[in-house]
Symmetry: D2
Subunit: 322 residues, 4 copies
């Protein structure tokens, strides 16, 4: 391979820039040219190509977001769209791709290989941690630290007013963020999409023992089946109006910010590993970190399999609220 392309796709995640930097420099180290493709698959179709050298990625390691930008592309979802993308790649002389993103991004890469034979290796970048084939995704550690620090702030108010707070964190389909943030934030209860809430949840949360405590933080994943923090707060308030619970929805602040050390190192390792795999001819798969080792999972498997919550962590919540 002589020239590869790199792009970020899907929601932005802290550490994506560290991954881009690692991809670019690993390629250069291996005497391979790199083209940055802006705005993900949209840029592939619209020819937003930028040649990159070592200096292009100087001083981005510590920045949140993605300097290559990202977007959703409806055009790429069509066969004609992907054909245009392919022709642009040929025109640019790009022999292979590194795709930094999530499930949807992997699907796009897989189709490009199946239809046009362009090899690609994926790097898992999303704060949600919901990608199979890696214990952690790039951006997850930063997101849980950001959410935890928000809870540390909310704790000051909760404690000063003896109040219960329902804090909603990101996670439409999975509870990875809620579980880790809940544990790290000292939550009294955690509600996640993976687990059916007991019918008695209000009374569990506001049991006589619990109400003797000065305050409680309840962490709720946005995709929980009881409808997120506002709905749960309303239900609780209807049953126990004297408690005056409050709600905080953390929202988009969880997505940005300078990446943590763990995310920078993870992104650096996976970006490096992905390029080395691509150059070695091992493509149509995604890099990941499993039990501290870099591993690769075929795109088809990464997309179709679902990663489970760590039940051991979930069990700890009950013990810690004795």
């Amino acid at each position: 391979m002589k020239r590869i392309g790199v792009f970020t796709s899907g929601g932005d995640a802290p550490g994506m820039n560290a991954a881009v930097r690692s991809v670019v420099r690993t390629a250069i180290y291996n005497k391979v040219e790199v083209i940055g493709i802006q705005r993900g698959y949209a840029g592939l179709i619209n020819k937003e190509f930028v040649p990159m050298n070592s200096n292009s990625v100087a001083n981005i390691l510590h920045r949140g977001g993605t300097v290559l930008k990202t977007s959703r592309s409806m055009a790429y979802k069509t066969e004609e769209g992907r054909k245009v993308a392919y022709q642009n790649l040929v025109e640019q002389g790009i022999d292979g791709l590194i795709c930094i993103g999530g499930d949807g991004s992997y699907t796009g890469a897989m189709k490009l290989y199946e239809e046009h034979g362009i090899p690609c290796v994926g790097v898992p970048g999303t704060i949600d941690n919901d990608i199979y084939g890696t214990d952690v995704t790039i951006g997850f550690d930063t997101a849980i630290n950001t959410a935890m620090e928000a809870i540390d702030r909310i704790r000051d108010t909760a404690e000063s007013h003896n109040r219960t707070f329902f804090v909603e964190v990101m996670g439409r389909h999975t509870g990875f963020i809620a579980l880790q943030v809940g544990l790290a934030g000292g939550a009294g209860s955690i509600f996640v999409p993976e687990t059916q809430n007991p019918e008695t949840w209000i009374d569990d949360v506001f049991s006589p023992e619990r109400r003797k405590r000065t305050f409680t933080i309840i962490v709720v994943a946005e995709g929980d089946e009881d409808g997120g923090a506002i709905n749960m707060m309303t239900k609780a308030k209807n049953k126990y109006p004297e408690l005056e619970p409050r709600v905080a929805i953390l929202g988009h602040i969880q997505r940005g910010g300078n990446p943590t050390a763990a995310d920078r190192i993870l992104a650096t390792r996976l970006g490096n590993g992905a390029v080395e795999a691509l150059l070695a001819g091992a493509f149509n798969q995604a890099a990941g970190l499993v039990k501290n080792d870099i591993v690769f999972t075929p795109f088809a498997e990464a997309i179709s399999q679902k990663k489970s919550l760590n039940r051991d962590l979930y069990r700890l919540i009950q013990i810690l609220n004795v």
Copy 2:
């Protein structure tokens, strides 16, 4: 005076603990005893008194919230309630009070003086900065830094996706937080309750020039007459559906957290000044910082007057978005 009481009242604010520490130690330095009254006026009625010495306030300078707790008291709003409070103070041998809080807290203190002759000096503690008689209130600097850091995070996503964000900050009746946060966060527009939004605001925000920029942050005070960030975003989206603006409501995270240096120093100075004034017989008034000097404003004036926004700062927004 031989023994004074100190309490925090109303919403908690970062720096209240620094004020309590300064009150306690200034009193002790002047050979006066101090009683901490917990949960504000409620504790005054329910006899939640705690003797305090220098060690009671060790290691709280840097903590958010209030170690004396705070609450709202319906009972104190009645004449009988205030009579009970008075009798408890007499029973405890408390000759004077330091009240750390906002307008409502000042009103309560004024009534106690009018009805029962208990002298009190106020210390302005609220993140909203909406107290007359002081350029800044305790907690304001921390709140604007917290909100600004949240915007710094949101900026990463806004920039990566070329998106407009409506960010809602606290301020039901005033735009102090919105104005400073908007300036510090590089907002494209700021909407505050003090100013009538022009009918053309959507087109101002999304003018052709502005849309050429990669992204825009709009800061909205929750009390703005167009109904807060969600309503404004919806109106904007209806007119320009292709823009896909997003909303972030910062909420309670603005209220907590370790106080900034400015808030710790302000709280220390005002707590000290308030006790010295009380001991010198200058009470029924609130301490404040005006043009860097400690000044005192009668409660009646502090409550009835309204502090204005700094128009010079407001004017800068337009210049900076050229």
Copy 3:
């Protein structure tokens, strides 16, 4: 077992409080009483015992340092000292111990078992990460994030002035902190005790290619054989006086601060695992996290074995500075 004791020992580390909380609550969950022993082995000898319940560890999860305090004890290093400690434990009815600390703490615990049969399980708490039997120690993640954020600040000055900085991080005998901080901080070179610096290191660092860059951050472990950052800076300056390199020694700030999410969760898991092992009769060993699983290593092995640096990470530094 009916009653266990818990203490922290050696240098303090962020997350120790989270471990104490987890130990106390896991014990109570299992109907076992817990006594807190203050100031480590010194408190064992001086009878500094404090009964603990669930509330004793409320609101400490997010605090740095250790609420149980820590110290070095010369008395405990003698056989008579340990006999006194043993007698105090018998007097208190303490059947087993949880020791949170490093190698030296494990050695003390092992001797107490060998000489007096008191069972103990260890929890690895130290920012240095130099304990065998666990991939990471409690406090390490916080320390590297703190040091990395310091480097992010130094980078602003280095870049503004086009300057080289030698940044010294903790690590008298090991380069764990230096390696991770260097990678996360974008260091140009990393010098650690485990690796012999090449004789040509000055010219490697200040090669013509490197000098074309706007600035460089060099990360040095305090125990590096060239004598730490000041010595290395002086040597470099003598050879290239026109470069005006600067030094920053991060020092004690690396040891404190609120623990990160990873440290809180790690401490919670290991504290829980240690108590469950102790109650199950599996003692004289230390808990650890290896490849994401909780494992136990006999004290004798944990003390005598040396954990190696991850060579894959070390190798990346060269690639990333292409």
Copy 4:
């Protein structure tokens, strides 16, 4: 005026970028062109000119350091050097200058006006706060918050080990940083260059009452006459070897980092005011903030006068350590 130049000079300070942004956009708003001059006076001589538009300063408001870079220039200190600078300005068609920096930078600007009639307005940018004509300089608030957060971290260790720490902060000739950081960090004593230390300082610091406390933080300005933190710690240790005091020298971390809200707003206001003054023909002076109002002080006065420490703040230290 049709075209102005802007540059940063001297040590970098957080908020310099916010000032540059405000200068550029205020000029454009007034239909005046702006040229960025890189690396301060050195760039003036070496023709490092960059035309700037509104977009050149997008997304720099929140960044530490200075995008225009800074340096010291020996050449500019000579008359010939300044003549070259003048000729370059004429060549570029630059009619006036905005200089962001400290005393030395003002001196350079004053000479350029005296010798060649180039008008300049100064903006005070330095973390040291040692500029006459403004209550606060750009970067000071960020620096004290950074140093205070470092002390918050050190406090964890000091408290856990019952130890005294000597913390050295920046300030070769003035104690502004030490005084504010000491107050905000809860220091037991503060040593500054402006005040002669009493001969009894060691016994004051380690009085029997003080030693009953669990720990003490001593804040020392680097320019204190007893020789900085290491010397003071050594003297204290020689007298009271059993106390094992520790030292932390904060160093360069105080200079960098994202600016606080106060610094961003201050820089924005002063940058705006400086350009408006320059365009109005009021030059050879520096902008400043005195008692919350923007004022201007002639360069000659700003350079020759010395700003005093706030004695009221100094007095508080004693009261707060009762």
